[in-house]
């Protein structure tokens, strides 16, 4: 019983921190930026023409995508216009794939007994954290 109560508290605290962060952000920024951008440690040439990765092609079907060399030889900036949660997840996965050759998985690891609340909350919070709040 004690454990369940404290789990609830921890989850609340987490939610509270996200909400507080979100409010704080809203206060200083009038609205979310239009582009979601990541920098990938690769040459811009690796992302265009026949080299263009399929995942990037799929993103470009639904979103305007901007590819620019990063200053100081820091690779390539990929910016996606009006990226929703799903698109942000895809952009992050694309960066991981281009840099490391795979997309890291955490689903399917060992875990102990989950509470009913925890079992329901984990996929939801994971998706929220994977995509990020904007």
């Amino acid at each position: 019983m004690v454990a369940k109560k404290s789990l609830g508290l921890a989850a609340l605290a987490a939610g509270g921190a996200i909400a507080a962060g979100y409010r704080r952000r809203k206060a200083v920024r009038p609205g979310p930026a239009e582009w979601f951008a990541v920098t990938v440690d690769c040459d811009p040439g690796e992302l265009s023409g026949e080299n263009r990765p399929d995942a990037l092609g799929r993103l470009a079907e639904h979103h305007e995508v901007r590819i620019t060399p990063a200053p100081g030889g820091r690779g390539t900036e990929i910016a996606v216009h009006a990226a929703d949660g799903k698109a942000r997840e895809q952009v992050r996965a694309l960066k991981q794939f281009l840099e490391t050759g795979e997309v890291l998985r955490v689903e399917g690891q060992p875990e102990g007994h989950r509470t009913v609340l925890g079992r329901a909350a984990i996929p939801v919070s994971r998706q929220l954290m994977r995509r990020g709040v904007r």
């Binding site: 789990l7 987490a14 921190a17 840099e99 399917g108 690891q109 102990g112 007994h113 990020g132």
Partner: protein, 389 residues
């Protein structure tokens, strides 16, 4: 298999859980032979790290044997005795390639919480909440290690398990604290906290050229251990006024380098400590920072404050005036272990670094709940309890 799970604030339990599997092509599976408690776990236990879920396997400082390798693993071999860095790097992103491994862009697949809280996310960490990637921890019979080639390091033959296990976390963290502070020959270095991390920072400070090291804590056995094994002078902050004592010991200048190895649950005396506790309990501040403030206050003009203790969000009454007006340099970070581990294992093999005295309480994994209780309350001189499945 058996594993130690977080089940709620100040509650852990040994449970039967599924064995880990290879989930990515660069994974290795390690059979754990030693897995240590760390001060960072206390922040989880005490409920100051949100995004913990009942059933999460904890533990991040460990040693073991490779028992399985994914198809894209090139260097690691089944049968190797390895120490695994507590913080996961991918080895390919720009930060990993610049040896800033704990800033890896790719090893935390779920960065959203930290991005909202801090602007950007930290690397993934074993057994350290869903905000840090939600990786199953090492207090278990087996653990899955992502990017096995870059995160698992073969241990030279002559190095005993009791020392090698701390090459995962406490030793490289302490080393990093001294390294990033840019210690120069003749420097006086003060270290707050005489746990495994503080002690290793004190040792590293000497090896990097410090002339004097002053270590601060309140537990007599930890102070005594630190002076015996690192050669540092010690101060008991419950017996002396630390700021006065440090001024006196440094001819009024203050230490050239101040290393904070305590973290967000810093203990203290007096009104400021009471204030911090209350605000943290009701979550008006996430972290309490008395030793951090003290380190900044004590540091000499133009000196460097190196923060190893873990903070997650906000500290109150941060003495920005002292940082600004004394022209201080602030350095910090989760440890970039992969940068230091091979060098540290070499030094262990040569006898220059030995961490085995930190292992005060070897225990069976079944006794881990008791081990955490002892470690948390510093009972029976416990500096680190290390579990063997």
């Amino acid at each position: 298999m058996k594993a130690l799970c977080w089940t709620g604030v100040n509650e852990v339990a040994v449970e039967e859980v599924p064995d880990p599997r290879i989930l990515n092509r660069q994974d290795v599976i390690v059979r754990v032979t030693a897995s240590s408690t760390c001060g960072s776990d206390l922040h989880l236990l005490d409920g100051y790290v949100p995004t913990m879920m009942a059933g999460d396997v904890i533990g991040h400082e460990f040693l073991g044997e490779v028992v399985e390798t994914g198809p894209d693993v090139r260097d690691r071999r089944v049968g190797e005795r390895v120490v695994v860095c507590s913080i996961i790097g991918c080895g390919r992103c720009r930060n990993c390639r610049a040896e800033m491994w704990s800033l890896c862009d790719n090893s935390n697949p779920d960065p959203g919480f930290l991005e909202t809280l801090n602007g950007h996310a930290t690397a993934g960490i074993f057994g350290y909440s869903h905000a840090m990637g939600g990786f199953a921890g090492s207090h278990a019979e087996y653990v899955r290690v992502p990017y096995g080639d870059v995160n698992a390091f073969p241990v030279p033959e002559g190095v005993p398990d009791a020392s090698a296990v701390f090459a995962s976390d406490a030793v490289p963290t302490g080393w990093m604290g001294a390294d990033i502070a840019g210690i120069r020959p003749g420097d006086v270095v003060a270290v707050w906290g005489c746990g495994g991390v503080g002690q290793m920072a004190a040792r590293a400070a000497f090896l990097l050229g410090a002339e004097r090291v002053i270590a601060i804590d309140r537990f007599p056995e930890r102070l005594e251990m630190t002076s015996r094994h690192t050669g540092a002078e010690t101060l008991d902050y419950e017996k002396v006024d630390v700021l006065d004592a440090l001024k006196e010991m440094t001819g009024g200048r203050g230490p050239d380098v101040c290393i904070e190895a305590v973290g967000m649950e810093g203990h203290g005396t007096g009104a400021q400590y009471a204030y911090d506790r209350v605000k943290q309990a009701v979550r008006l501040q996430t972290d309490r920072g008395l030793p951090l403030r003290q380190a900044i206050h004590a540091c000499r003009k133009g000196g460097t404050v190196s923060v190893l203790g873990v903070y997650l969000g906000f500290v109150d009454k941060f003495p920005m005036g002292a940082v600004m007006n004394k022209g201080l340099t602030l350095r910090s970070g989760q440890q970039h272990g992969q940068r230091y581990i091979p060098m540290l294992l070499e030094r262990m093999a040569r006898g220059e670094v030995d961490a085995s005295h930190l292992l005060t309480h070897p225990m069976a994994l079944d006794d881990a709940p008791r081990g955490y209780e002892m470690f948390k309350n510093k009972e029976d001189g416990c500096v680190r309890a290390v579990f063997t499945p």
